[in-house]
Symmetry: C2
Subunit: 309 residues, 2 copies
């Protein structure tokens, strides 16, 4: 199997109540690729500028990520995002977004990227997501992420893109914005009416839900001792989740989808422990497996009957 | 076994995006008692005024709740609360709080109430909670609820009250306000340093966490099709949780505490489906058991190992 991801490669500046970084490797495609790299061969498609350096490539290569389709736009600058997290780490404010080379990004996939078995369309213009999806005809399983911006200004294009994928990943606020439904399951099912067989609804620090036409599955965030930086948690989750689906052949059973939710949760929990990619870059498979087992332990109970009056 | 609950008995006026009620039975002790009544004999201790009528007693008696210790304050009026829920049902605004007979409430327990095996101190002045706790010397297991108001204005008294109970039930915002800790487990353990062996942290529409000195357990809210009115959900949860502990003898093992979390979750999920006590008043034990089983099904996964790279 092989996984292709198309999305942003970025430098992030982040300030949290516990410190910050002026310039660190980030972007949805990067966080996704590092997380998915534990499960399968991953190819990243996305643009960078002249400022993207050897150190950044080294982080990706350190996890075996194939960077042949990272497009170096000569004379350009890499996408830059600057944000600050409030005392409540669940809220953040964007201080600066310089799209730079990302503004004119037109994904060009090599033959190897097109031949992927599993495809992840990270959060980019829905029209571009559709374009990429069509270039990867062989892909057995395709997942898509999006955001409030596209729901607001490119709703029809997003609906078209959604209709051509197997799985949509959004957070609960986005599901409500998109469908008007407050309840996670009802909202997810409305989106699945457009085509996808699976929805993942991210619940921020509270975990995530998996919704299919007949079923739902709920997993809490793994309780870490300390959250240093939530940036990239959602994309790390997606990387673990989609990677696990790929590792099981890209045609997931209900059981594999649940397992994938657990793996996504485990990888994301490491991501938030340090800034940017710092923790995941030196993560081990043993550490991931440990938290998946622990996650099962802290969510299991024996539903034995009680004599009720 | 028998359970005593001390707390508010109220009339609520509630407005939600789906309608409202001008005057309905409510109050923490009422919601708790109805939920706990499925598991054990429950006695309610709390004050009402001349306006508290036969219809309200009938709701409690319909579930076998013992109302001998409901104190009728002659010439007084029953506690009244009026609130409105925003489009996002997780936020609500209080429009009116008339303490009425609750303002001078000084709990007087009959001998039968004092002889309870399990005691629930619903959200009242911490000094009164302590006073009641001491009247129930025989109680094997005591749980306490509180709120931001007491954390802010009666912190020391609340710490004293907490030091004399087995279990504290708060929501995550209250835990953070009380301890300064953002992470649920860290905050809960800070509170347990004061004495309790168990903490339940309610996460609103996202579920609840059980924290003990060595362990944690996480359960999502049961996904209902439609939330009509969240009023009393927390107290219904507490009633199912504490009731289940009582049904198992009031000296809960780790396994019983987890099961109790599931039963609390199931009862609370019915509570929110209709206004006030309307749904729980006609709930059956079979319906509760059904959702406990379903809750296990939608949270279970098989943590089998995956070959990681």
């Amino acid at each position: 199997m092989s996984v292709t991801v198309v999305g942003s490669i970025a430098y992030d500046a982040v300030q949290t109540p516990h410190g910050g970084r002026e310039r660190m490797l980030g972007g949805a495609a990067v966080h996704f690729a590092l997380a998915a790299s534990f499960f399968d061969e991953v190819r990243v498609v996305g643009p960078v500028g002249d400022d993207f350096g050897e150190d950044e490539y080294a982080v990706l290569h350190g996890r075996g990520v194939v960077t042949d389709d990272i497009e170096h736009v000569v004379g350009g600058k890499t996408f830059f995002w600057k944000g600050v997290y409030g005392q409540n780490m669940n809220s953040r404010e964007t201080l600066e977004t310089d799209l730079n080379v990302f503004e004119t990004f037109d994904p060009k996939l090599s033959e190897a990227s097109k031949q992927c078995d599993v495809l992840f369309l990270a959060n980019i213009l829905p029209g571009l997501q559709r374009n990429v999806r069509r270039q990867c005809e062989r892909a057995k399983w395709v997942a898509l992420d999006s955001m409030d911006l596209w729901i607001n200004i490119a709703r029809e294009a997003l609906i078209d893109a959604i209709s051509e994928v197997d799985c949509v990943i959004l957070n609960d606020a986005e599901v409500e914005l998109f469908t008007g439904e407050r309840e996670v399951v009802a909202g997810a099912r409305r989106i699945m009416e457009r085509g996808p067989s699976t929805m993942v609804v991210k619940l921020g620090k509270y975990g995530a839900a998996l919704v299919t036409p007949e079923d739902s599955f709920w997993v809490p965030a793994f309780p870490v001792d300390f959250v240093t930086d939530p940036t990239g948690a959602g994309d790390s989750f997606a990387g673990g989740f989609v990677g696990c689906v790929a590792a099981h052949g890209g045609d997931p059973t209900a059981e594999v989808l649940r397992l994938a939710m657990a793996y996504g949760t485990a990888v994301a929990s490491y991501n938030v422990e340090e800034f940017g990619t710092e923790r995941v870059a030196r993560l081990t498979g043993e550490e991931i497996a440990e938290r998946v087992e622990e996650l099962q332990r802290i969510t299991s109970f024996d539903a034995r009957p009680v004599a009720l009056r």
